[in-house]
Point group: C2
Chain length 199, copies 2
Amino acid sequence: MARTAGSHSDITGPRVREAALRLFARHGFAAVSMRQIASEVGVQAGALYNYTPDKQTLLFELMRNHMNELLAAMRPDPAGSPSAQLDGFVRFHIAFHHARPDAVFIAYMELRNLEPENFATIEALRRQYETVLEDILCAGVDAGLFDVADTKVATLAVIAMLTGVTTWFRPDGRLSLGDVQDQYCQMVTRLVGAPGGSV
Amino acid sequence: MARTAGSHSDITGPRVREAALRLFARHGFAAVSMRQIASEVGVQAGALYNYTPDKQTLLFELMRNHMNELLAAMRPDPAGSPSAQLDGFVRFHIAFHHARPDAVFIAYMELRNLEPENFATIEALRRQYETVLEDILCAGVDAGLFDVADTKVATLAVIAMLTGVTTWFRPDGRLSLGDVQDQYCQMVTRLVGAPGGSV
DNA sequence: CTTGGATTTAAACGGGTGTTCAGTTAAATC
DNA sequence: GATTTAACTGAACACCCGTTTAAATCCAAG
């Protein structure tokens, strides 16, 4: 068992994933070659295959990793009221996605480049995340706090609205991330017909 | 001037664009080859160059065409109230986008595959469309009908929310297109703090 | 029926693709 | 210092890429 301590694989492995994430987000999975990724890492193309069985799996692992991090980070306070939970969800979604623009971009844009089996896995994780929000909405409706015609539709509407932030928000722009979070909280609060959202 | 009547170009041209639209939407611009498009049309790859100078322009024309159609079809009733105009915008956006899923997909997903000049053109058209909605929101705020903290943010939030419909709505599903339009109208009405959106 | 231009083919161009693998390098263990 | 083995190179594999071009085909007009 040689080269366990000073091994480069501890360094090269993450660097491969970082380069792939950045390049896939920037140019798209199909438009990026293994040689481009390798060149970014400072290695020959063949060396990448020490870290991934193939290009498809490299994409899949990036997406699965992102979704797992998302689900792990999202822990709604079970003691909070539905309104507080909804508020927390909105702020969390905006902040978490803003911190990982490349991973977000890939997770939403490269789904069609996944093989069916991999697609199903990512899709399941995505639905799991949506369920977190839907449960909050259902709890609010049950408590008579929210007025939502269809919690499934409202869930998808809110998530689409929140995810859209990543396409235009720039930290050096007119509004701070906190401003944006505040505004979206108000809009979502009103959207679900919760009290406290009126004029 | 021979072959003006029985010319194939009247037939092949549209067929090229249809095939490209479908394939680009399904697999992504970078993942689709000119030979695939040609094969779909029933022609050799070289024949495509009678109808487009290159692959990039083919994509660009599809996107520009879609945006132009979108802007031409979007004519808010200048006599209507801001609330009625907003309602009309929501219903129009959902219906128009649902009728052209492939073009919508391309217009939102393939922006990064456009060369800078082409990107700027499409981006300008997109902003033109957003301005239609923002003007409605501004009119509503000026009339004291809407309560919106930031019309730009609200515009982007509403459009992201509406466009998201195309990713999940299926006409053979639980809800009809009309149901979805109704629900989004209510959610948007509440989101902008307009009267008539409360419980 | 010939003509001439629109339309398409077939082949070629230079270059890039994902992936494999024998061989080289270099670091950790004995 | 010899041995072991993870890490990497460099070349090759078979194939696909967008685009160009000369030649063939097709068909309305004269």
